[in-house]
């Protein structure tokens, strides 16, 4: 069974949680006890319909305010697909949680309230989906029941988004438009009889047709070392294995490799996964490898193929999405975590603040505030071994950590 990771996006009250509740309900994924709880709560609150958002808004404050504050991860399956959905918040102040939910998604559902059309948060979320290079974006025009299932309204919204998309710098993104009503169930899991003018796929069919590996592109193999395994037992006296997860491509016994930063060369002697050995290992697998030569390899080092070297640098140019209340400023210092490699970073240039409505950028701003996106130049205490985010998502992203609070303060996408 394939696994498909999806994130939701859209402005507050556009009905993200309701849509997920509806998907759960229509795929019979809500167990009797959970459904019963929704029925009772809806009645208690005096609603004349089932409030499906109660299925996902798991925090007290969320139910009190009727909004989503943090990402909820929801799991459900159909016959051939297992879905992981990150239900993300719509409020501007929780944009960082939206980015968190979307970072590992291969598809993103952006909800638009058919009555209000494209609003500021729609721009912003559409922009972030672009920045994160999420391959498949579904523009779900919701609440069609409240605009008399008007085709004209739907086309108007479609036109506005298509105009935005034309300004995007990620032209390979697949954008699909679906008119639906999460509350009533139109075009969610069954074809709506109220919109005969819509000939496209319904939402669930579209999601089921997504392929599992769509999230990342095949590129060059990267093996960042997490831990060195030295059992020091009689049976494995001289065993020295390097553990990590494989990104970008595959590894095979006999591959000529280089260890970074030392640039020492060696060959892969064996690939271990628990008590078995394999000739080849596919990307995404957490394995332990041994090398032909006795080399000093540490956590944070990276093993790559000799013919496929990444960029090695002590200065980075990146787009940053800022996630902390304390703004990012010129000359500020942070811990930078690039995969499992930790270095220190100093902001040596704050080049621009990018407007998330695709209207361009402001040059040399004084700071990047919470939820703002900008371009920076960073100087590093030690080199990192990177690919551009366009080529390899995992090896092209990093986080900045505030050295005083230890909070994750921002995420960067390397150019």
């Amino acid at each position: 069974m394939k696994v498909v990771k999806i994130a939701t996006a859209g402005s507050v009250d556009d009905g993200k949680s309701t849509l997920i509740g509806r998907l759960l309900y229509d795929t019979h994924s809500l167990t009797e006890d959970k459904l019963q709880a929704i029925v009772e709560k809806s009645r208690q609150r005096g609603f004349d319909y089932l409030d499906f958002s109660l299925a996902t808004d798991g925090l007290i404050a969320e139910r009190e305010q009727g909004i989503t504050i943090d990402v909820a991860h929801i799991y459900f399956s159909t016959l051939n697909t297992s879905f992981i959905i990150a239900d993300t918040p719509g409020h501007i102040e929780y944009t960082r949680n939206m980015v968190t939910g979307a970072s590992t998604a291969q598809a993103s559902i952006v909800l638009v309230d058919a009555r209000n059309g494209v609003v500021e948060q729609t721009y912003r979320h559409f922009f972030i989906n672009n920045l994160l290079r999420i391959k498949n974006v579904i523009i779900a025009v919701n609440k069609m029941d409240l605009v008399d299932y008007s085709e004209e309204k739907f086309n108007q919204i479609k036109g506005e988004i298509e105009y935005l998309a034309s300004k995007s710098n990620f032209q390979n993104q697949n954008i699909t438009f679906i008119p639906l009503s999460a509350l009533k169930g139109d075009n969610v899991a069954s074809k709506s009889e109220n919109m005969p003018w819509y000939q496209g796929e319904i939402l669930l069919d579209y999601l089921e047709d997504l392929k599992q590996e769509d999230a990342q592109d095949q590129s060059q193999v990267r093996f960042p070392i997490q831990t060195v395994v030295r059992p020091k037992t009689d049976e494995f006296h001289d065993f020295r294995g390097y553990s990590g997860k494989i990104y970008g491509g595959d590894l095979e016994v006999g591959d000529e490799v280089m260890i970074l930063p030392s640039t020492t060369k060696s060959k892969i002697k064996a690939i271990h996964f628990f008590d078995k050995q394999y000739q080849k290992a596919k990307r995404g697998s957490s394995v332990t490898i041994t090398l032909e030569d006795d080399i000093n390899v540490n956590r944070g080092d990276m093993i790559v193929k000799v013919a496929e070297l990444p960029n090695i640098t002590k200065e980075l140019s990146a787009r940053i999405c800022w996630m902390d209340k304390t703004p990012l400023r010129l000359a500020s210092r942070y811990y930078l975590k690039h995969g499992v490699n930790d270095v220190q970073a100093k902001v040596i240039d704050l080049k621009s603040l990018i407007h998330t409505d695709f209207s361009g950028k402001e040059e040399y701003p004084s700071a990047l505030h919470l939820n703002e996106i900008g371009e920076v130049q960073l100087k590093l205490s030690k080199p990192v071994f990177y690919d551009s985010y366009d080529k390899n998502k995992e090896n092209g992203a990093f986080i900045l950590i505030d050295s005083k609070t230890n909070n994750t303060a921002g995420v960067g996408f390397i150019k």
Partner: protein
Amino acid sequence: MINTNILKVGALESEAIYILREVVAQFEKPVLLFSGGKDSITLVRLAQKAFYPAKIPFPLLHIDTGHNFEETIQFRDNLVKELGVELIVRHVQDSIDKGRVREETGKYASRNLLQTETLLDTIEEFNFDACIGGARRDEEKARAKERIFSIRDDFGQWDEKNQRPELFDMLNGRIDLGQNVRVFPISNWTELDVWTYIKKENIQIPSIYFAHKRPTFIRDGLIWSAADDIVYREEDEQVEERIVRFRTVGDMSCTAAVLSTATDLETIVSEIRESAISERGARIDDKRSEAAMEKRKQQGYF
């Protein structure tokens, strides 16, 4: 060729192994919270795989409520012996005797909440900086909001409105003195995934997970064990022998059984697939209120 992505549980397995390796790399004194239930048994298997051929590089900690199913304790001791790992046991009874907590009384009395105090005391006693647990996001909707590295303060409190963003695979384990992290490597697993994995790996689990005859009584539509005195029973609650199994193994006083004839893993997997009631639906501690789990977590509950 090893390609863990082919199977869903394979991809989840690689993710969990990655997380466990990050814990060992980023923390000085990690510990695995072991309840004897299927989720913590699965965690132990994953830890074994993550560091093989070396031994699991952290101890197991069992917070013993004293309300255990006999079989799970035997099972625990055998497992620890087989793997050669250190086991630490701390008893809720000791916290009660020392006056740290007060025993609940009456019909719904349970020691589930009291565990928190014993856990926090133990974390302090050993200076553990990372506690690895088998909680899953599909269990309950407050759990669905939990990060993989979840920061707790001195009081074990979860600041649910101010969680660190977790992007891609990157896990930020930097903490201040006095803080610790709860780590959930199987966050993205569902109950069905856990069972599918147990079956695939042929992992041994305690016998109470399989259908067996047990003296039971019914309360609030749920089936309770009357095999011993641990679950409080009123006189008019009739004991009857039924064929049951348990879906979760928590404190006996708050864990209900389900009617089942599943005596092997194959049948359990298909039973879970068709089940109409959620796993925690048989946990009375979650039924106290809609916000029961969140409130417990704010107080440091695991």
